[in-house]
Homo-oligomer: 442 residues x 2
């Protein structure tokens, strides 16, 4: 019952592209049986002639080779363009021009999708084509599909994700080995878990792109980067990881969080403390996890590797299979994969209005009246204290004491105002550390 | 762009049926937007007139009401039959007759699917219809879809599941409160987590049905109950849960496991010890989890509530939505959802050939030479010891000692033969306890 050949053009044969070609080729027989059509790679494109040679040889059949992506996009035989070149400008052009040329697209490019969501999906809708992008978030974990299909009946109350492998690796090392951020970053770079320029990962930008994509699907509304409060992990000190764990039972993770608070959407990417008993506390190293709280499904957690060529290839090729079925039946794009019609009914909560519990570490002179002054300012700003722990000074010569506190739920603005006022006191020796606590049912 | 109305007939308005009708009705607007078609419940069927009245009133529009399921199946206006009556014989008839009448089907009935897999899906294929069943395994966790679509490109190496909420609740209570199986079962019944007749749950039958379904999809091959070695938890003693945790760092779970061992498929449902550091160790109470090890994706874990009406409704209504899209486009059943063509190439591993590590507890007289005799018999049967711990007798009057051992990987037959020989010794006071250890990368 194989009706047609579905013809693929690959643009970009780096790690993910190469692994995807390999996976398709290796499992060709079972893939075609599942899809009920034959799937053929007919065009490969990469800047490197050596790679083109390598992969065309592996395929073992005749295939067009190009160094110019436009050749693939304008190849009338290609049904599906697989964009895996990374980066921004050219990748965006590849996606846009492919849709204009009547192709369906598979991509793993989170930055381009997150930053051009409306343009890409409006174009796809108007052209009756689809863009699939499972690999863009948490690589091999099928969480995009779950939001779009398996949990489609739910209103989504909350999404919480450990979305970036690099930062999770670094925080795991800081927690396990009591080392500084800088040393943990060096380890991550040495072991291939961080890039030489780690800015986008450690400052939370990558997580923000991924949260933007998940949230745009969950709430049928383009959630832009600028709608998401973003704070990275580069200022985290190991002492807070240690204190929060030992004194209050929390583990520190870089979380991406989206939640519906009385029809206002609250979004942030920031280091958060979570209960050491929650499943997320044991998500370590380069692993990722996403919690989706649906009104009917309750909390569902998806967990797996958040990086790696094979892991991404699993998602890319699964997308190709799903799309190939639809191409073969002539139904691809008949129902939009992404729908933005919900925007008008939901508002964004300003970051200052976001409410939560907090962990605070004050560095104060070891003098009478210090606790009274700090707690007085907190009270004045409506910050209610949940727990206090004062660490005795390490040496007798040191005059500063660490005072740790946790608060009840309070608005971001109130706690920031209080901290600002406290930090201006002469008894305060160093900037107060402020970390959000994210509560999740275990 | 709403082309058609997709018309639903519900058979069975118990907990899951009622919650599904509610969810569909409550989220009608966003559901129809996502599906791009209007979805209407036009026929409700239940044995109870009170329920029919209750749900038809909630719908707020005219709907046919029947106490006879055949009326729904033979209603020419119905596009999709939703079978939620549970049980076996009638439920099977509903599914079969619906397909014969040209309807697509959504069901949550694991027993009927597991026991009639080939008949149901061959009929569906020949009639060009589909049967969707996400709620049949782990209710709201979208794991069927993940196997079928999001991970479709992978060869599956292994599936491990905590698939039954009742037994997981009981084992959690035994672990946390050091109580007997009988007392934990009573607690589960009292708190609504076990039925009055808990046989199917506690003896592993329910888990076997679910493993059968997951495995039949994963390996494109009907895995029947009789292909799955099955052992329940009713003989588990709290002392082994305690010793295994304290002395060896293991937690006891009822696992359903399927794995590909050199192209032979090994299946079992049995109490297993797993590392206390593995994510599964923190899956507690009525929660479920499934680990899928794909060749490319690596280990992916799905976690969530394994029971409850709303949780099941999340899956049932998501199935309805996906199917409604296809019905509306005229493509439902064009590609079979379940494909059994792989059977001929894979063989089943006999249970006696299954290999793993084991935990043993010998109850032996406290006499010289006991350890030598036991270890001699183990060695003769090629059982290699990994760890040993001998608990000192609790009271001086008691002559029996508990000797705990863990083994390296060994065939089931070898360890059974050894235990049989050891249990025949006069120094052995009680039947030796034998529990499989399942190793999973953390």
């Amino acid at each position: 019952m194989k009706n047609n050949k579905v013809k693929l053009g690959f643009i970009g044969l780096g790690v993910v592209g190469g692994c995807s070609v390999n996976l398709l080729n290796r499992n060709k027989k079972i893939i075609e049986r599942k899809v009920n059509a034959s799937i053929e790679i007919i065009h490969l494109c990469d800047a490197s002639a050596a790679r083109l040679k390598q992969y065309s040889r592996q395929l073992g059949h005749k295939v067009k080779l190009s160094s110019d992506w436009q050749k693939v996009v304008n190849d009338p035989s290609v049904d599906i363009v697989i964009e895996l070149i990374g980066g921004r400008d050219i990748a965006k052009k590849v996606i846009i021009e492919s849709l204009k040329a009547g192709k369906n697209v598979v991509t793993a490019n989170k930055a381009v999708l997150s930053e051009n969501w409306d343009e890409i999906f409006s174009l796809a809708m108007s052209r009756g084509k689809v863009v699939y992008f499972e690999a863009a978030v948490c690589t091999g974990i099928p969480v995009i599909q779950a939001l779009n299909e398996g949990l489609a009946s739910n209103r989504i109350n909350r999404i919480v994700g450990i979305l970036n492998g690099t930062t999770n690796y670094i925080l795991t090392r800081m927690f396990r080995e009591h080392i500084s951020f800088e040393d943990a970053l060096k380890q991550a770079q040495k072991n291939g878990f961080a890039e030489m320029n780690p800015y986008f990962d450690i400052e939370g930008i990558d997580s923000t792109h991924k949260l933007s994509i998940l949230s745009s699907i969950a709430w049928s509304c383009w959630v832009k980067r600028e709608n998401i409060y973003c704070e990275g992990i580069s200022k985290i000190q190991p002492i807070d990881i240690k204190y929060a764990y030992e004194e209050f039972g929390y583990v520190l993770k870089l979380l991406g969080v989206g939640k519906n608070c009385n029809n206002k959407l609250d979004f942030f990417v920031r280091p958060c403390l979570i209960s050491k008993n929650h499943q997320f506390a044991s998500v370590e190293d380069e692993y990722n996890a996403v919690l989706i709280e649906g009104e009917a499904s309750g909390n569902i957690i998806f967990y797996g590797k958040g990086a790696g060529g094979d892991s991404a290839a699993s998602a890319v090729v699964s997308d190709i299979m799903f799309l190939a079925k639809e191409v073969n039946m002539g139904t691809a794009g008949r129902v939009p994969y992404v729908n933005n019609s919900h925007c008008e009914t939901l508002a964004f909560l300003p970051a200052q209005e976001s409410a939560g519990k907090y962990y605070l570490r004050f560095s104060a002179l070891d003098k009478p009246g210090v606790l009274s002054k700090i707690s007085g300012i907190l009270a004045k700003n409506n910050v209610s204290i949940a727990g206090v722990f004062q660490k005795e000074p390490v040496s007798k010569n040191k005059k500063a004491a660490s005072i740790l506190m946790t608060t009840h739920v309070v608005r971001e603005k109130s706690i920031r105002d209080a901290v600002k006022e406290i930090d201006a006191l002469s008894i305060i020796e160093a900037k107060t550390v402020l970390i959000r606590i994210e509560e999740m049912a275990v």
